[in-house]
Each structure stands twice: as structure tokens, then as C-alpha cells.
């Protein structure tokens, strides 16, 4: 060594300014905001939600009353979108039906996620025998034909909104469960989980407070997608005549008017369009979340 090291300790560095804290959620939002399609989806979704929340209060026509001549085309009366085969206001049906559709879709999705996360979390966290048992159950549900099973549930227990939501949730949680399980298996081997264990964290804390929040990104995306699926599912059931007869929903409007499709295109087109827009909004937002929550894309 011809020259000794200049010095052996840190010279006083001018303290660098400490940046603002940026939580992972905020980071994701920044990313999401830059995604045009996702923002359009979000705007559309907010519009649909606002309609479902406020619409019925603002537009007072009842969706169940016969108000005009049956099968009046759009623009031919004060009921802009026309009437259905019994003379009910289609616009009123759409507005009220939106609320029902979204509630059923939302609660079915919530149920899907709840069951899926519960099953997946225990299977993934504990592994071994618990995992085996839970996965057998999951496989069993997975191989049952979904729509058929939901139809059976609804026919057996009656076509109330609650039963419909439960039926949809009960048949669609399996993919969430698998996803959660895989995430839990991956995350439980992470060093930060080990570090928590080394400071005596309980299983409950590890599952719900440490692993679950970190498993959330793919689960949120999958929850969004299952909300979309649930809406389609509900529409499908209603279309088959298995909707709640006491609640107007988009699917039911289509189902009710099915025989008159050729005479009254509007009676099925508008609710179909509504379903399409709602599901599109949800999947655009889901896609945006997928990108925003993906740490690898976030780097750039």
C-alpha cells in the first residue's frame, strides 16, 4: 500500500433533507393517476355508483308501476327511454335496478373475497394438513358447475336478494382462495415475517396484520374482477327468471323483456348497455390497480 487511506471514518456530511413519507398506497395512487384508461374507468365507476346512490331519490317514478302504454319506444313519450312490455318506465327501471344490481354484485364480491381470503389464508399460512383439507374443499367447489349450483341454491332457498348474493359468493370464492393461499405461502417465508416472529408476534397478528396487508394488492385486483363477475352472474340468474321478483335489477329487466326482443330492442339494449358499462368500469379500474400495485412496474 503506497498511500494510506485518507481517513477511516465518515467526514461530516451535510445532512440531506429528509423527503416526505410516501406510503405504498400513495405510491400506487400516483401510478394509477397516470393511467388514462384506469382514470376513465374510475370516473365511469363513480358515475355509476352516484347514480345508484342518488338516482332513485332524484327520479321519483316507480319502476314497478305501469305508467304508459307497453312497449313505447324511446323519445315517444315523456318517458325518455320508453316503456317495457307491461308499460313500466324503463329509465326508472334502470335507475332503481342499478342500485340492486350493484348491491347484489358488491355484496356477492365481498362474500367471495371473505370466504376466499379466510380459506386461503389459513391454508397458506399453516400449510400441511390444514392446507390439504382446505384445498380438498376448494377443489370440490371448483369442479361444481357454478351457474347450476347457484340456480339450485336460489331455487331451494328462494330468490331473495340475500340468497342470490350468497349463492354467487358461495360458488365463486375458490379462485380467490387459491390466490390468497399462494400469496400467503410466498409471504410467510419473507424475512420481515420471520423478523416479526422473532419478536414474538402471534399467529393472528402475522396472518391479519403482517401478511394480509402485503398480500392485498393481487387480492384487491381479484376483488374488483369478482365484483364484475358477480354483476354478470346476477344478471344471468335474473335473465333465467331466478332474480328477486320484488327487486328490479338490470338483469331482471332483460329477463322480463326477453320475449319481446324483436319488438322492443330498447328494453333489453339499455339495461345491457348499463351492465356493460358498469363491468367495463370495474375492469378498467381493476387493470389500473393491477399496474399500480405491481411494485415492478412502479419502479419506473
Amino acid at each position: 500500500m503506497s498511500e494510506p487511506p485518507v481517513m477511516t471514518s465518515m467526514p461530516p456530511m451535510p445532512p440531506m433533507p429528509v423527503p416526505e413519507p410516501v406510503s405504498p398506497a400513495r405510491q400506487a395512487w400516483r401510478m394509477f393517476r397516470r393511467n388514462g384508461a384506469a382514470m376513465i374507468g374510475l370516473a365511469l365507476l363513480l358515475l355509476v355508483l352516484a347514480e345508484a346512490a342518488l338516482g332513485p331519490a332524484l327520479y321519483s317514478v316507480s319502476p314497478d308501476d305501469m305508467v304508459w302504454m307497453p312497449l313505447t319506444p324511446p323519445g315517444a313519450s315523456e318517458y325518455w327511454l320508453g316503456t317495457d312490455y307491461v308499460g313500466r318506465d324503463l329509465l326508472a327501471g334502470l335507475i332503481h335496478g342499478g342500485r340492486v344490481t350493484l348491491i347484489v354484485g358488491g355484496s356477492a364480491a365481498a362474500l367471495t373475497v371473505a370466504i376466499g381470503v379466510l380459506v386461503g389464508a389459513f391454508a397458506g399460512y399453516y400449510g400441511g394438513r390444514i392446507d390439504n383439507a382446505l384445498m380438498r374443499v376448494t377443489e370440490f367447489f371448483q369442479v361444481l358447475p357454478n351457474l347450476l349450483l347457484a340456480m339450485v341454491v336460489v331455487m331451494l332457498f328462494g330468490a331473495s336478494l340475500v340468497n342470490i348474493a350468497i349463492a354467487i359468493g358461495a360458488v365463486s370464492w375458490t379462485s380467490t382462495a387459491r390466490l390468497t393461499r399462494v400469496e400467503f405461502m410466498r409471504l410467510r417465508e419473507m424475512d420481515y415475517v420471520r423478523a416479526e416472529r422473532s419478536i414474538g408476534a402471534s399467529d393472528a397478528r402475522l396472518i391479519w396484520a403482517v401478511i394480509l396487508p402485503n398480500a392485498a394488492p393481487p387480492l384487491i385486483v381479484s376483488a374488483a374482477l369478482s365484483a364484475g363477475t358477480a354483476i354478470l352472474f346476477e344478471a344471468g340468474l335474473a335473465f333465467l327468471g331466478l332474480g328477486d321478483p320484488n327487486a328490479m335489477s338490470w338483469g331482471r329487466i332483460i329477463g322480463d323483456n326477453r320475449p319481446y326482443v324483436l319488438d322492443a330492442w330498447w328494453a333489453v339494449t339499455f339495461p345491457g348497455l348499463a351492465i356493460f358499462l358498469a363491468v367495463l368500469a370495474i375492469s378498467l379500474v381493476g387493470d389500473g390497480l393491477n399496474d399500480a400495485l405491481n411494485p415492478r412496474l412502479r419502479e419506473r
Binding site: S9, M10, P15, V18, P19, P21, V22, S23, P24, Q27, M190, D191, Y192, R194, A195, E196, R197, S198, I199, G200, A201, R205, V210, P213, N214
Partner: protein, 343 residues
């Protein structure tokens, strides 16, 4: 600066002063995998006196991490005994285990994987205080600040999230978290291998300073001989789940006895050795050939026999035991004569 001193161990008070802080005997750890059982750790013995740094080196998959996790009760020992301050902690649970966790903490290898991305740095360092109920609640915030200062971070940085720190800074957070409960033993699992060379020096200096100032004991894992030589007092070399040689630092480098230890020392690229070179053949040929065997299918006899230039038939059938060679040096080789030669 209020330096968090190690909490005086209540259990070790009755034990004679010479008793090692950590004493591991016949430790075995197995993992069931598809197609068999991995004997990740196949019977290791070592002891670490209080205040010393014990290095564990060896190649990837030799079981260093697994052995260390078992010592911290984060992996289940299939056989053997782990004593902390004279007290058998191999199978304790509940309250006793929690008490033990306060005394043994870990610093992990990958600073990007060892911090919960959803928690602020301050919360990460504080968590052990809350979970293990260390000190009065009112004093915890101050303690977190003292810990930040101790590892060279600024108190304002407590509010930041892990992704807002560099690798070296993250490792400092990990060290602060490990120090929070005032542990006596810190397991450092390759704490600098994921860091840039320039940052490595900062962290190694920090660890050396903490050891000196707080009287800490380290179980220090690395695959880098130079790092282990720098920081540790005693070193064990692992190969395929077993310790093949164990010696005080000076003895190990002055007189390596196991052929694998020699190969490791030979293979380590060294600036000094190369600078003196004159012209052509820049290095001797690699001392050993071949790849390490799979832990799923360990060979009978000495695991190193397949790559060993000194192996004889007996090596392929007989598992060598760790033999004491004097001066604190022990070697698991049938042929090592204890003076650096082979019988």
C-alpha cells in the same frame, strides 16, 4: 445518547461466568420436501462465549442460515440441544420462549425483504418494544430515537417507509430493530452480502462498534472469508450441513486443517496475493474441482470426499467426526494430521 444496554440476563446469573452464552450440541434440522427429506443441518456443535463473534462460513446450501434460525428458535430442531446462558431453550414455548426472544435477535441478509413495506421505519423499530413489552410505554418513543441515533439514522427518518431508504440504510433499520429489545446474542445472517462494497464497510464498522460498545455476542454468517476474518473471533466452516472445521481465527488462517477450508482460502480472490504476481500464470489452478453434492442425496461418508484431492476409500464410507486438535481447533477429516498435513 441513551444506549440500550443488553438487559441483564436473570437466568444466567446462577451460571458460572465461563459458561458460553450459546451452546449448541448435536443440532439437526430437517425439512420434508417432495421426494424425501433434506438434512439441512446434520449434527453441528459449537459454543459462543459471551462478547465474542462466532463466524459461520460455507457455500450456498451448506445449512448456515438453517442452523442460525434454529438457534433463534425460528426453525425446529429435529435433534440436539441449544442452551442459552446455560438454560436449555430447545423446546421451550409460551412465556419462556417470549422471554428468550428478547435475548436473541436476528439481522437478515436481504434488506429489501426483511422490512415490512407497509410500515414506517419508526414503527418497525418500535414493534419489538410493544410486542415484547420492553420498558414502560412512556419511554419507548425515546428509545426508538436513541436506537435510530445509535445506528446512524436521523430521527426525522422515522416517518419514512422502507422503499424510501437505500440498502445500507435499510440494513441499519434492521439492526436497530434487532437491538430494540436489548438482546445479548445477535444472529447476523449475511448482513452485508446484499450490499454494495462501499456500503458493506459502513455496516461492518457499525456492527464492530456495536459489539464493542454494547458487549454484544454475534453468530455471524457469511460466505465471504475476508468479512468473517475481519469481524469474528472464532470461525466454523460448514459443508453440506456439518461443521468440517472450527478454530480460533488466527489458527484457522495460519494452519487450516481441512482440505475444504484450504480450498476456500485458496479460492478467495485476493488483491494482495495477486499484486505480487510476476507475469504469466496469474493463479494456481482452482484447488478443487466439481460441484457440491445435493443435500437431498448426500453421499455416504465424508460429504467432501468427491471433490477432495486427499480422499481415500475410507473417506467414502466413514463419516468423520469433529476431532479436537488442540488450541481450540477441531477438524472433521479422517486424514488431517493436525499439523496441516495428511496421514
Amino acid at each position: 445518547m441513551t444506549v440500550p444496554a443488553p438487559s441483564p440476563p436473570s437466568a444466567s446469573a446462577a451460571v458460572p461466568a465461563e459458561a458460553p452464552l450459546l451452546d449448541v450440541r448435536g443440532l439437526e434440522v430437517r425439512f420434508p420436501v417432495r421426494g424425501g427429506v433434506v438434512h439441512a443441518v446434520g449434527g453441528v456443535d459449537f459454543a459462543i462465549p459471551r462478547g465474542q463473534a462466532f463466524g459461520l462460513v460455507g457455500e450456498s446450501g451448506s445449512g448456515k442460515t438453517t442452523a442460525a434460525l434454529a438457534c433463534a428458535r425460528l426453525a425446529e430442531a429435529a435433534a440436539g440441544e441449544i442452551r442459552l446462558g446455560g438454560e436449555d431453550v430447545t423446546h421451550i414455548s409460551g412465556r419462556e420462549l417470549r422471554a428468550m426472544r428478547r435475548r436473541v435477535q436476528i439481522v437478515f441478509q436481504d434488506p429489501y425483504a426483511s422490512l415490512n413495506p407497509r410500515e414506517r421505519a419508526g414503527a418497525i423499530v418500535r414493534r419489538p418494544l410493544d410486542l415484547m413489552d420492553v420498558g414502560p410505554k412512556s419511554g419507548r418513543q425515546a428509545r426508538v430515537e436513541a436506537l435510530f441515533a445509535l445506528v446512524g439514522l436521523r430521527p426525522e427518518q422515522q416517518a419514512l417507509f422502507p422503499h424510501q431508504f437505500s440498502g445500507g440504510q435499510r440494513q441499519r433499520i434492521g439492526i436497530a430493530r434487532a437491538l430494540a429489545s436489548g438482546p445479548e446474542l445477535i444472529v447476523c445472517d449475511e448482513p452485508v452480502s446484499a450490499l454494495d462494497v462501499a456500503i458493506q464497510a459502513q455496516i461492518l464498522n457499525l456492527l464492530a462498534r456495536l459489539k464493542r460498545d454494547l458487549g454484544l455476542t454475534y453468530l455471524f454468517i457469511s460466505h465471504d472469508l475476508a468479512v468473517v476474518q475481519h469481524l469474528c473471533d472464532e470461525i466454523a466452516v460448514m459443508y453440506l450441513g456439518r461443521i468440517v472445521e472450527r478454530a480460533p481465527k488466527r489458527a484457522l488462517f495460519a494452519r487450516p486443517l481441512h482440505p475444504y477450508t484450504r480450498a476456500l482460502i485458496e479460492a478467495a480472490p485476493s488483491a494482495d496475493r495477486a499484486v505480487g504476481r510476476a507475469g504469466a500464470p496469474r493463479r494456481r489452478a482452482a484447488a478443487i474441482q466439481g460441484d457440491p453434492p445435493s443435500p437431498l442425496d448426500p453421499p455416504p461418508g465424508c460429504a467432501f470426499a468427491g471433490r477432495c484431492p486427499h480422499a481415500v476409500d475410507r473417506c467414502r464410507t466413514e463419516v468423520p467426526a469433529l476431532r479436537d486438535m488442540g488450541g481450540g481447533q477441531a477438524v472433521a477429516c479422517l486424514r488431517a494430521d493436525g499439523a496441516g498435513g495428511f496421514v
